[in-house]
Symmetry: C2
């Protein structure tokens, strides 16, 4: 997932939500939807099926194509309409062999994973001396050219937060570190995984080379291995590492967004968009990132439609490429950006419970958002004063002014497994998954059925 | 670690321990030893040093040789006497490349690790159809020859226990499963890791081929991957796996036991033996198995000696080879078995707190064991009615009748990380490590200083 926050607060609207005296009563149908959704099995079956029958599915690869076919068949079997894939093409970075070995002073292997778009070492690898930086700022402060031939190592440790906000700060080491190290002349860069666990499973993730920067081999050590390397460096002897990070870049590979709809009675009333992404990193089976998100929105849409006829169409977008730069979201916008979306929502932060709802809605949505808050409250979800931002799959829509609502999930343990081999089905808590379905179902139902005009102003 | 239990109960002695009215008061010195040992830093420094400066150290390899040199230097610097290595040689199984890929119906990789003494596949690997067995008993019930050319898969799941007793039952799948599968004609065997975690880090471990059985490739899937394969098998389609498990066997490789002593005033009074093992599995740095055990006994011996002059010699045995069949313990017995050991103890079950003390001591030890029970009680340790059994490093001594006492550690989380890449320093809880040192220190002190005669009858 990549969280996007607008950083502004829709103060007028939030004022009306935060005051309990002024809220409108939630319609009784919400209770029935919640009750049914809390017993849901569709989201689990979707998550179990995609992770078991497809497994890892990096964007633009044959595995993602299998995921697309799987999702199209699944959505058709569940009764969705207009189920199809919108194709596009994209460049694909493919991992080869990742290996790191301390040559001296204390020979041993380190567990690591190349970062997306890493340059490849020769098959035999490279060897260099480690230069240690406690934080990204320390790396940035290194004199230009001072790292010539060296392996930069940034060990900045991330701590867990419920709202995932620490990812933005600590993730900069992954996003910017490689370009900074290359500018300083480094032969390669190793970072401490952007993760909050203590297991020897490195966290992958994408990074983009800044303009004009020469790509270098770039990888994340597991948090445990980074701490080990830090201890070894602290002994004061020069530390030499042999590094093998092979990979290759492929041009114009096929990817595609899966679309499915539950049609509304009034096509002119606009589309309610629920998004997730089908692709995953290559090491795990992408259970929490983001099979569960796709399961949640699929199940929720069905529960919303079951509760009564829809005025607006609920559209599911399962983006084919999110992890490696948001190609799916951009492709969706290119094809569908001109259609009328009354709201866009995205589920891409695991499967743990929704604890907060954020809004970025026009003033004309005040009544509907009040009813949503009331319908969510029995699930333990409180409205916030933080503006919604959506995620990468709907980012172009949000930037273009489409209203957005975020059902914020508890991210306390999300970065324990995010982008690792450990992102597997067993990490999904079924009861919390069902709470997500209930939260999404009442929200989608409200947007899709309200007879009020939802003017995007 | 390999736990050995005698299965008998030293009823007479235990009777005298279990009754609080008859116990002798612990000497006041015990309180001072406990207090000092609970502030200990030696055990942590030892564990940190060995895991950082040596890392993984499979028995009979150059890494174990480095560990031996490291330990000899460390023990000398800490003031031990007669510090040296007793050399011996042993066969060594060396892991090559481990890889498993489901070919059909749902292509994906599985995380696994070859078991000790596994046969090697060709470099290109082998391919076969999976035959699923829920338990070892189901595999045993398969008709002879029924697995010809197939890959047997036993998915028996282990559950955690505080005393580690479930390892004996579930570990049989690893110890016996490969030989059983080979007898049935299987081309290879995969087992669910003998572990209690949910991470994609397979649990290695040794297995010995039964007499006359042809070695086949044998490996443990991570618990997560075993559950994934079970789900895939449950879909009812034939499951084919491509398996690469390369390895090699080396004859007569050098290994050695590190010995160190804190001399007692009366050589005729016998030796108090405290054992651990220096070797580890190859994937992790062997922090809980068994660097921490070596740290505990080293620190405890020093605290015991600091509290007053010793009558009996406390001898440290750091076995060079435990994991792969107990070569170190046998070599120790061959060299030192005829010396008078008044007691043998071993620390090889992690670094979590001691919660119970087991005895298998002659009747003449009643007073000393009562004082030990009293000295342990303030640490939250209760005497049990289960007979002590020791571990592999002292097994030949125990079999020969040497009295034994077990300071049983809490094993609830031990099998989460046992024999995996995750056996690293961060898993050691410093406060619990110090409680171990305190328990060991008062126990060693009592055995080494008591003026009573400890007759081995």
């Amino acid at each position: 997932m990549q969280k996007i926050r607008s950083g502004t607060i829709a103060a007028l609207l939030l004022g009306s939500i935060a005051s309990p005296l002024r809220v409108a009563a939630a319609p009784p149908v919400a209770a029935a939807i919640r009750e049914a959704a809390l017993q849901d099995s569709i989201a689990w079956d979707f998550t179990e099926g995609l992770t078991t029958e497809v497994g890892p599915r990096p964007a633009g690869t044959p595995q993602e194509a299998r995921a697309r076919d799987w999702a199209v068949a699944k959505l058709k079997s569940l009764g969705f309409s207009n189920v199809h894939a919108d194709p596009y093409s994209m460049p694909v970075w493919v991992r080869g062999h990742d290996e790191a070995r301390i040559v001296s002073p204390f020979p041993q292997h380190l567990a690591l994973a190349a970062l997306g778009n890493s340059a490849s070492t020769p098959a035999k690898g490279i060897e260099g001396e480690v230069v240690y930086f406690p934080t990204l700022a320390d790396l940035q402060a290194a004199p230009d050219g001072s790292l010539k031939g060296k392996i930069a190592f940034v060990s900045h440790a991330m701590t867990a937060t419920q709202d995932g906000s620490s990812y933005s700060h600590f993730g900069a080491t992954r996003r910017q570190g490689p370009s900074v190290a290359s500018r300083k002349g480094a032969a390669a860069i190793l970072i401490r995984s952007i993760g909050t666990d203590q297991h020897r499973l490195p966290h992958s993730g994408v990074q983009m080379w800044a303009d004009g920067v020469k790509p270098i081999p770039a990888a994340a050590l597991s948090t445990v291995d980074a701490d080990q390397l830090t201890r070894i460096v602290s002994r004061g002897q020069p530390v030499r590492i042999h590094l093998i990070l092979t990979s290759r870049m492929l041009k114009d590979q096929p990817s595609g967004n899966v679309i499915a709809e539950l049609p509304g009675a009034d096509p002119a009333a606009g589309i309610v968009l629920a998004a997730c992404h089908l692709d995953s990193w290559d090491q795990g089976t992408g259970a929490i990132d983001d099979a569960s998100g796709c399961g949640i929105i699929t199940a929720a849409a069905l529960h919303a439609a079951k509760a009564g006829s829809l005025r607006r169409t609920i559209r599911i977008l399962m983006a084919g490429a999110e992890e490696v730069g948001g190609d799916g979201g951009r492709a969706y916008f290119a094809t569908h950006g001109s259609e009328r979306h009354v709201v866009a929502m995205e589920s891409d932060f695991g499967a743990d419970r929704v604890w907060r709802v954020d809004f970025k809605l026009p003033a004309s949505y005040a009544a509907v958002s009040n009813r949503i808050s009331n319908a969510l409250a029995p699930l333990g979800i409180a409205p916030s004063r933080t503006a919604a931002g959506g995620g990468s799959d709907i980012e172009p829509l949000v930037k273009a002014g489409v209203p957005v609502l975020d059902l914020q999930q508890d991210g306390t343990r999300y970065f324990d497994i995010h982008h690792t081999a450990d992102d597997t089905l067993d990490k999904v808590d079924r009861a919390q998954l069902q709470q997500n379905v209930a939260a999404w179902a009442v929200t989608l139902h409200e947007f899709a059925t309200t007879t009020e005009s939802l003017a995007n102003k």
